[in-house]
């Protein structure tokens, strides 16, 4: 049905975010731009339609039961087992490495030294599940997550910026380290936050998928084909390089 509608109206209704550089954000002329936006536009193009964007809250977007408001969500959503009960994952389109960020003055050099320290994470994200050892990624071809971290205390925030703000107060004032996506941490550093990434291995690699509402198998597989094609002809690799400076498509 969805496919028919997209074909007839030539409009692809996309749910995404507006505050996540470089995936999707408002540029200085207040237009939505970013990696997710480019991907969505590309998908629309390949379906012979134009993309129309809407920015519902994360919880609304990822809660399913869209009531036909959106055809697809291109919002860097991680495919996990419980999520697959309410949404259909059409395909993985890139991966994000997660890193440990510490204050500039921190004497720590190795992630392993974080055992017993206070770790800050944003609530209801894969980083929180990672520290709680409950992260189960439901995607083929992704290596299982290795858990070695034993945090002394986990501080959770219902806001993505607050962990960094607490870290910025000084080494060990409120937290010792923050787990977050590499791009987010680099963004913070670029904007003058006095923090650094602990070099060494990534905490884990997070696959990100394009999502459709549950129940329209034909549409999901059509989306899946489109993504596979975009991956195969290098479009995705080109787009990740454009926005992230690295090829995150593998």
């Amino acid at each position: 049905e969805t496919l028919d509608r997209v074909n007839s109206t030539k409009v692809l209704k996309v749910a995404t975010n507006a505050g996540w550089p470089p995936q999707s954000f408002l540029d200085d002329s207040n237009q939505l731009v970013g990696f997710d936006i480019d991907v969505a536009n590309e998908i629309a193009k390949r379906l012979g339609a134009t993309a129309e964007f809407d920015t519902p809250e994360w919880g609304v977007m990822t809660g399913g039961r869209w009531g036909g408001r959106w055809d697809v969500a291109v919002g860097s959503i991680t495919p996990t087992k419980p999520r697959s009960e309410v949404l259909d994952f059409a395909g993985i389109y890139y991966y994000t490495p997660y890193v440990f960020a510490v204050h500039k003055d921190s004497t720590l050099t190795d992630p392993k030294e974080l055992n017993g320290k206070r770790i800050g994470v944003e609530t209801a994200t894969t980083s929180e599940e990672y520290v709680n050892r409950s992260l189960v990624i439901d995607a083929p071809g992704v290596p299982p997550v290795e858990y070695w971290l034993e945090p002394g205390e986990v501080k959770t925030y219902a806001d993505s910026m607050l962990p960094f703000d607490d870290l910025r107060l000084g080494d060990g004032v409120r937290v010792d380290a923050v787990i977050s996506g590499e791009q987010t941490v680099l963004g913070a550093i670029n904007n003058g936050y006095p923090i650094k990434i602990l070099s060494g291995e990534y905490a884990f690699q997070e696959p990100l998928a394009i999502v459709a509402d549950k129940g329209d198998a034909e549409w999901t597989s059509k989306l899946g084909e489109t993504i596979a094609a975009m991956k195969a002809d290098g479009t995705l690799s080109q787009l990740t390089t454009k926005w992230y400076g690295k090829d995150y498509s593998e």
């Binding site: 919880g59 419980p82 309410v86 949404l87 209801a124 607050l162 107060l169």
Partner: protein
């Protein structure tokens, strides 16, 4: 009726001028909005299979209208108190049915509700209760300062209500949690939450208390002062008890709304009810379940507050003026 008039108004809904247009409006509305495609339609189709299309809309509209009419007919035959409770109950049942229609996973709710209550509800209650107590004290001080003849006290009180009503509560939390450390004072999450909530609600309640105090006729103050009572005694024994009738309902509003605004302190990592509901729901993509559960818990809490409010109001109304 608050103002009894020694008139038995004919029950509105039994007058044809009222109920014919009312039921027609319901019927037309249902038809117009194609109720056949909605939940009512599905219900009707479930009960008596009908052909698709327009007739379904018609039948649905007719059924629902008839049901409403019959219900009014039955309710009107009861004494007043029972009418109120019955209508209340019917509507509550409808809402619960509405929630039920979301196709919720009760297993999931059952699994999580214990934690919601032991951790979330308790934190919410603890933070709200502390904030309510402090806010009331602040409000009383603020109101008296605003009505005083001391310019500095008035200035501070006006600034206080202006700032803390004007800034978003979230900003106040940030100011205390992130701003004070800039000045050299690090505050923990829970004290931050209580401080922000108290300051914010204290500002709102200052205005309520002020209006309540001002609503008492000047003669009361004069009589008490002329009898030789001290200003503080006049305030606490004569003016405030009388102004309670006016103060309590909007204060009840504030208490009820504080229950829910206390959820904002979760941004700094306090695990209160709403936060747990959201996170527990999000991790397993069951946030509708968790939202509904949390909402019902909030509703229960506010019903308790409402009943409390009613009792206190009755107490202060016992001598209502003639």
């Amino acid at each position: 009726m608050h103002y009894k008039d020694n008139i038995d108004y004919p029950p509105m809904l039994t007058r044809p001028v009222v109920f014919v247009p009312l039921l027609s409006a319901i019927f037309a509305g249902l038809w117009w909005f194609q109720s056949g495609d909605g939940a009512f339609g599905r219900l009707v189709r479930g009960l008596a299979p009908v052909a698709e299309g327009n007739p379904l809309n018609l039948v649905t509209a007719a059924c629902v209208t008839a049901l409403v009419g019959f219900n009014i007919f039955v309710v009107m035959r009861l004494p007043l108190r029972q009418q109120v409770w019955l209508v209340w109950g019917e509507l509550a049942a409808l809402i619960l049915l509405f929630f039920y229609s979301f196709d919720l996973s009760f297993a999931f709710i059952q699994r999580k509700i214990g934690f919601l209550i032991t951790q979330g509800l308790l934190t919410t209650l603890y933070i709200s209760a502390a904030s309510i107590a402090i806010a009331t004290v602040l409000a009383l001080m603020g109101a008296i300062a605003k009505l005083s003849s001391n310019g500095i006290a008035q200035g501070i009180a006006h600034f206080y209500t202006s700032l803390f009503r004007g800034l978003p509560l979230l900003m106040q939390i940030y100011m205390i949690y992130l701003g004070l450390p800039q000045l050299g004072y690090v505050v923990d999450a829970v004290p931050t939450g209580i401080a922000a909530l108290s300051l914010c609600y204290g500002a709102y309640m200052t205005e309520i208390f002020r209006a309540g105090i001002e609503s008492i006729p000047r003669g009361q103050w004069e009589a008490a002062r002329a009898l030789g009572m001290r200003p503080v005694a006049v305030m606490t024994r004569i003016i405030l008890p009388q102004s309670m009738r006016v103060i309590i309902p909007p204060t009840g509003n504030q208490f009820i709304s504080m229950l829910k605004d206390s959820s904002l302190v979760s941004v700094v990592g306090v695990w209160e009810l709403m936060y747990l509901a959201r996170t527990q729901g999000q991790t397993e993509f069951r946030h509708i379940e968790m939202m509904v559960t949390a909402s019902l818990i909030y509703w229960l809490m506010s019903i308790v507050l409402e009943l409390l409010q009613k009792r206190i109001e009755t107490h202060f109304n016992k001598a209502a003026t003639r």
